[in-house]
């Protein structure tokens, strides 16, 4: 069985302070801290491509869990903001920059905020089905490429970042195993987050209504399918859309806030990277045995998973 061995991340050093935008958008410190939960949004350098963010995440992984790139046989990038115009696929670019071997599958997965949960299922199943041993699952979706600096709905929220998850077999490094997944899509409302005009547009209220109603429903269904009570879950790692949406979901699910970590303040909503950014801090905590992940957003798409410690 394939599971998560380790996770590393790269957050670009560049950033913009939301406190500097208070006058432009008529917001105050309390709104920034208590509602957005985002004090700064990270911004990649002008010369940094999506693949470069992935490479930096891989270098960070080398500091945590040295991996011989020569044994990597699967390399996947989850992004909707690929290098250039998407050809070649960003995973192939990363493959080249890391000098990975030819005998290595590489493909992209085009999903947003639900992407990590989907990709975890796709890649672990793909590896298991094909006898692959060492997988790298990257998330990197730098929205700064498409953000409208004058759009209050998006510019205060989204930050750039990348993560890499090392996937291996149990016995070869895997510490957490995915147990069960649920996936859902509501394409008819997909316009709520779109890039039709070359600039990101989001109907925040539509996304809020979708998230607040359908995410708790899916999490309850996921746990019911495993006959697992909410209280048996050690942590709920919810997509970090904003502090407000995480707080809302926490309240609507009736969860203890200490079971729902929030990590947003210094980089913002990093789309498919937000869940692995939370997860990397928890992997080594042996007090934890059961985690729930839930990503939701672009699509509209939402996906949840249960992880169990090996």
């Amino acid at each position: 069985m394939i599971g998560i061995a380790d996770i590393a991340a790269y957050i670009p050093a560049g950033s913009e302070s939301n406190f500097d935008k208070k006058d432009d958008f008529e917001i105050d410190d309390a709104f920034i801290r208590d509602k957005l939960g985002i004090e700064r949004v990270s911004r990649k350098g002008a010369d940094e491509e999506t693949s470069d963010l992935c490479v930096r995440a891989f270098l960070a992984l080398q500091q945590r869990s040295p991996v011989d790139i020569g044994v990597v046989d699967c390399l996947v990038v989850c992004t909707q903001n690929p290098d250039g115009f998407g050809i070649p696929h960003t995973s192939a670019v990363v493959h080249g920059k890391l000098a990975a071997r030819d005998a290595c599958a590489a493909f992209d997965i085009g999903l947003g905020c639900s992407g990590y949960v989907y990709a975890l299922s796709v890649v672990s199943a793909f590896m298991a089905a094909n006898g692959l041993k060492n997988g790298l699952l990257f998330t990197a979706d730098p929205y700064s490429k498409i953000i409208d600096a004058a759009d209050k709905n998006t510019v205060l929220l989204f930050g750039d970042g990348a993560t890499v998850t090392l996937l291996q077999e149990v016995g070869a490094g895997a510490r957490w195993l995915p147990r069960r997944f649920l996936f859902a899509t509501r394409g008819a409302q997909g316009e709520a987050i779109n890039n039709r005009s070359g600039r990101l547009q989001m109907n925040g209220r539509a996304v809020f209504n979708f998230s607040a109603t359908l995410v708790p429903e899916q999490i309850r269904a996921l746990l019911a399918a495993e006959d697992l009570p909410l209280a048996a879950v050690d942590r709920f790692l919810l997509h970090q859309g904003s502090k407000f949406i995480v707080d809302t979901l926490t309240a609507r699910l009736g969860l203890a806030p200490e079971k729902v970590p929030i990590r947003l303040a210094q980089h913002g909503n990093t789309i498919s990277s937000s869940i692995p950014l939370l997860l990397q801090d928890l992997l080594a905590d042996t007090r934890l045995g059961t985690l729930v992940l839930c990503g939701f957003g672009v699509g509209l798409s939402w996906a949840s998973a249960i992880l169990r410690r090996v």
Binding site: F31, K35, N203, G204, R205, F208, N209, A212, F244
Partner: protein, 78 residues
């Protein structure tokens, strides 16, 4: 006082976790009570769930106090 207005006042107070709203303040702008755009989204979701009454995006700015929200519910609910 119209019971619906009291219900809406309670709904706003509980949704936004603010102090109870006095009847004299039912016409007071929600913004003046510290309720921001995100709180408003929560209020209108709660209205939808409790009364089955939707609020279109273009109506949000207009429904800016307890009285106006209650009037909207009264005119729209099944």
């Amino acid at each position: 006082m119209d019971p619906l207005r009291n219900e809406v006042a309670d709904l706003v107070q509980q949704t936004c976790k603010i102090p109870p709203i006095a009847a004299a303040d039912y016409g007071k702008p929600l913004k003046a009570m510290g309720i921001d755009s995100l709180d408003a989204a929560s209020i209108f979701l709660a209205v939808m769930e409790r009364y089955g009454v939707a609020v279109a995006d273009e109506q949000i700015e207009l429904l800016n106090c307890v009285d106006k929200i209650a009037d909207h519910i009264a005119s729209q609910r099944p």
